[in-house]
């Protein structure tokens, strides 16, 4: 018994450590966060005793409360939704024959009025646990290959002698360019440096090492440089439910400039970045995140600190009409199609995780 308890402690410890790590570092990235979340949930699900779908869902919910607390990375929530969707799907598919029967027999009216699932998930199903864990392993391998698949399409997006603009530093964008260059495409990249953390400089360094012709410009020069670009390719923090973007600050300017010059804007978005959240008019500011303005105005500047207010927001919201195409790991999509992908990936009940947790 004691041994069990200590094992429990250890795994909880690890989870918290992983969470702390995610919080501490903005650099960890959404992929790592998503991957760790699924891995952690898989471990929880396989370690615990459960027989019914409801129990598994409760387990995930309980863990998600801890995972989501103070979490800025939206991919954690996305992965929790995916796992919940997997459990629900496996629950129905394992009792396939029965579900089919019900589907044919029940009328639309009955389907509407039935307070269905709550009861339904309490039905014990055979081999549910095994199939859920199998599906989660599939999800993990999907995550692992997602960047590769997105990059595999790079030749379709980058043509010879094109001038491509990007902003800041996204590991996916870097990989995307490198894949193209490895396949002997010749092109030029203009990087917007992204004040004040200058992540663009990091990307410039990486690309020049890969022999890609690179120009770094300041954030203010976006509009001036846009006229000579053929394409804009950027990464994003997340893709919102309306097809808009939550991307690093400066992206909105970039997207507007691209629209003005009719330059196509391609967003590299593996599916774990797709979130069912969307920006509503009343919480514009909650959506954003401001960090220490030390790099905008050094803290040791003296008395001026008392007299000015300095702010350093991290994100921009980019409305869907400014985005031309999403290059995802399941193909290219236009913004209006995002809602369809959402319905495929997540169960509608799980869209609002916080609400679920409260109830």
């Amino acid at each position: 018994m004691e041994l069990l308890a200590s094992q429990e402690d250890m795994s909880q410890d690890e989870a918290l450590r992983f969470l702390r790590k995610m919080e501490q570092s903005d650099q960890l990235g959404s992929f790592e966060a998503a991957y760790q979340t699924v891995k952690y949930l898989r471990q929880k699900i396989s370690d615990s005793q459960w027989g019914k779908a409801r129990e598994a869902l409760d387990l995930v919910k309980e863990q998600s409360a801890r995972l989501l607390k103070g979490q800025r990375e939206s991919s954690v929530g996305n992965m929790i939704r995916r796992v919940m969707k997997i459990i629900k799907d496996e629950h129905f598919s394992s009792g396939k024959e029965k579900t089919d029967e019900r589907d044919t027999q029940e009328s639309l009216q009955k389907l509407l009025l039935a307070d269905d699932d709550e009861e339904e998930y309490n039905q014990p199903k055979e081999n549910l646990k095994e199939s859920v864990i199998d599906s989660m392993c599939e999800l993990l391998s999907e995550l692992e290959t997602s960047a590769e698949i997105v990059c595999a399409n790079s030749l379709e997006h980058i043509q010879n002698n094109e001038v491509i603009m990007t902003l800041g530093n996204s590991r996916l964008v870097e990989q995307f360019f490198k894949t193209a260059v490895n396949k002997k495409r010749k092109f030029q990249v203009i990087i917007v440096e992204s004040f004040p953390n200058y992540r663009g400089h990091e990307l410039a360094k990486a690309l020049t090492e890969a022999d890609i012709k690179t120009t770094v410009v300041s954030d203010a020069a976006v509009f001036a440089m846009m006229s000579r670009c053929n394409k804009v390719i950027i990464g994003t923090n997340s893709v919102m439910a309306d097809g808009g973007l939550k991307a690093s600050s400066g992206t909105h300017t970039l997207a507007l400039a691209a629209k003005h010059y009719s330059v196509p804007l391609i967003v590299l978005a593996p599916m774990y970045k797709l979130t069912p959240q969307y920006l509503s008019s009343y919480d514009q500011d909650k959506f954003n995140q401001t960090i220490s303005p030390h790099h905008v105005l050094p803290y040791n500047s003296g008395e001026i600190i008392n007299r000015v207010s300095v702010s350093c927001p991290l994100y921009d919201y980019v409305p869907p009409d400014l985005v031309s195409t999403y290059a995802t790991n399941i193909g290219g999509y236009a913004p209006p199609y995002i809602y369809r992908l959402l319905a495929d990936l997540y169960h509608p009940d799980d869209y609002n995780l916080k609400q679920e947790l409260n109830s």
């Binding site: 918290l16 702390r20 500011d285 909650k286 220490s292 303005p293 702010s311 350093c312």
Partner: protein
């Protein structure tokens, strides 16, 4: 988030399995007490949120540690020592307990910082490798004069070796425009850097031997004392100290109201990110950013549509703000009610406070459960609204003010009268309006005297300055004399040394000479009583007393030279035997006095005079009368001869 003070500790990385070199554990010592009373009265009812070494509020700290997420991540040891009065005491205690065996980080609980301590520690280790005598590294921030986190009381000048950052001299510069530096410094140093722009973050990276230095020098109270001590003994001991100036990151300590305000503003303006009201670190009740300009709130459903929130504002949960209220640069706690047309600027309002209509507050800290009745005005002393200002008003827990009261002079108020050690209220009642309940808060005066005194007998000094009553001192003196006598008996110390001892005690406790006379004899008489059993007879007492009296003959001769002092001595004997009812002495008092007479300590005339004027009839007088009769007989004998 009523008090945006947060203790932070960077997670220690445990020894990683895949690294061959075994890493030393990362040890941090956090002193939970500030040992600083300048934030009273707010801190009277509240503990800081901190970990590890604590003197006050151990339960609060324990429960905080248990609740916090840190406890699962690292090994937190809470040590409670209610006797520690300073950082020095705490480190001495840790040295005593042998808890520290590696280099460690010394922090205090009122620190707000987002520094990477690990990299600081690495720099400390590199310094230690190149300079074996380096014992500590102080982490500093570059912070030019005029900066708000520079508390006006803590400006220091550092003389550094430019290439190694070694501290060559350190001086606290208060108001004086002059700085004194030893000339050797300028002659010897190749590259000397004088820096006045460094702000001590109060993060000190110490070698394992630092606590033992504190033990060796029992008068060190703070790290500053240590720095001065080490600099003073540099030529003898050869220990060196260094400074590490951090470029990025934020660190500041809340030591007084001025820095409380500065740090709080920094937190709201995100300088201390990720320690800001809307992030996970400090967020237990779901405060989020409501709009740009650093406005934070849990929910705005209790705010009037016509209230006006300026920048840098935090509003707690379940707090209502009525129409026309305007709030800027302020923190409001949970469950507060802010009335109509209230104006609040540069204020910190803690939980459960009610501020009624038409009040106007500036530069104020309001603790829990305060009530301000209608039209209470607390007006700023300075008109420059942009400049960083000090806190003018502090209202302690439960203070009531108003209605229609205007304060325009800085004041600290508490709800209950301050009491000194004797339970006597010493703070004046301040009538602040019809429904007012407020007392002036008086800072205990001990603080200032401490710094100049050499630590040796600070406890006695403190007592002395705290209350004018002399009684405890005389008692202490009396006990010390008793101890001296006991030692003298055991070790056969000569009379001269006893006198020396008593004289130094006299100076230590500031005792008047007549009191010394009074107490020396009483102590001598008291001394044998300590050794004999309750059932002992007077004759046993006498046999015990005699050797002591012999030993002290010269002592008595020293103190009882004049007639007056001899008379005092006799009065003291009478008081000791009669008034303090040491009845065992009554039968033998004649012999004792005889001894004094025979050894030329007490004069015959004095004894007779004392006998005639000061003694009431009783057993005691009868005993003495035998002696007096003998005097008379001897006199008549000699006359007849």
């Amino acid at each position: 988030m009523s008090a945006p003070v947060e203790g932070k500790k960077v997670a220690p990385k445990s020894a990683a399995g895949d690294v061959l070199v075994e890493k030393e554990p990362f040890l941090a010592v956090i002193i939970a007490d500030s040992y600083n009373k300048s934030l009273q009265p707010c801190t009277l009812d509240r503990s800081r949120e901190v970990i590890l070494y604590c003197t006050s509020y151990p339960q609060l700290i324990r429960s905080h540690v248990e609740k916090s997420k840190w406890s699962t991540l690292m090994n937190i040891k809470v040590i409670v020592n209610e006797d520690a009065r300073s950082v020095g005491d705490a480190l001495r205690d840790l040295d005593d307990k042998q808890l520290i065996s590696t280099d460690f980080v010394l922090l205090q609980g009122d620190l707000v910082a987002n520094l990477d301590l690990k990299s600081c520690m690495e720099i400390h280790k590199t310094t230690r490798e190149s300079d074996k005598d380096a014992i500590l590294t102080r982490v500093m921030k570059d912070c030019p004069p005029g900066h708000r986190t520079r508390s006006p009381n803590t400006s220091s000048l550092y003389a550094l070796n430019r290439s190694t950052n070694q501290i060559l001299a350190h001086q606290i510069v208060l108001d004086s425009k002059k700085v004194k530096l030893p000339t050797e410094l300028i002659r010897e140093a190749k590259e000397l850097e004088l820096r006045y722009d460094l702000l001590d973050c109060h993060i000190t990276l110490c070698a394992a031997m630092v606590p033992s230095l504190f033990t060796e020098n029992f008068d060190y109270q703070t790290v500053d004392d240590l720095v001065h001590g080490v600099l003073g003994n540099q030529e003898i001991l050869g220990n060196t100290m260094h400074v590490h100036v951090v470029e990025d990151g934020y660190a500041a300590r809340v030591t007084d109201f001025f820095t409380y305000k500065a740090v709080s503003t920094d937190v709201l303006e995100k300088w201390a990110y990720p320690f800001s009201p809307d992030t996970e670190w400090s967020n237990e009740n779901g405060i989020s950013l409501v709009s740009f300009g650093n406005k934070y709130a849990v929910s705005s459903k209790l705010f009037s549509k016509k209230c006006n929130l300026g920048s840098n504002v935090v509003i707690g949960d379940n707090t209502a703000i009525k129409y026309g209220a305007s709030i800027s640069n302020s923190v409001i706690g949970n469950n507060c009610i802010i009335g109509a047309n209230v104006s609040i600027q540069n204020c910190y309002v803690w939980d459960n406070t009610v501020i009624e209509d038409d009040c106007s507050l500036t530069n104020t800290i309001i603790c829990e459960q305060v009530r301000l009745y209608k039209n209470t005005q607390l007006l700023a002393t300075s008109k420059d609204t942009m400049a960083m200002q000090n806190i003018d008003f502090v209202l302690g827990k439960g203070v009531h003010l108003g209605p229609n009261v205007t304060l325009d002079q800085p004041v600290l108020l508490t709800a209950a009268a301050m009491k000194d050690d004797w339970g006597e209220p010493f703070s004046a009642y301040e009538s602040k309006g019809e429904s007012g309940r407020a007392f002036n808060f008086v800072q205990p005066t001990e603080e200032s005297s401490d710094d100049e005194e050499d630590g040796d007998d600070t406890s006695a000094e403190e007592d002395d300055s705290e209350d004018d009553a002399v009684i405890p001192d005389t008692e202490l003196f009396y006990n010390e004399v008793l101890d001296t006598l006991q030692r003298a008996e055991k070790e056969n110390i000569s009379a001269d040394n006893i006198i020396l001892d008593i004289n130094s005690l006299k100076h230590a406790y500031n005792i008047q000479i007549n009191e010394v006379n009074h107490m020396v004899i009483q102590a001598v008489l008291q001394r044998p009583l300590q050794d004999i059993s309750d059932t002992a007879t007077s004759s046993q007492l006498l046999t015990n007393l005699k050797p002591l009296l012999k030993l002290c003959i010269h002592v008595f001769k020293n103190y009882y030279r004049s007639d007056k002092s001899q008379h005092e001595c006799l009065l003291a004997i009478k008081e000791f035997v009669c008034d303090q009812s040491h009845d065992l002495y009554t039968p033998i008092i004649g012999q004792v006095l005889m001894f004094f007479y025979q050894n030329d300590i007490l004069d015959e005339d004095v004894i007779v005079k004392w006998y005639e004027t000061s003694l009431q009839p009783g057993k005691f007088k009868t005993q003495v009368s035998k002696l007096v009769e003998w005097f008379n007989e001897a006199e008549s004998d000699s006359e007849s001869d």
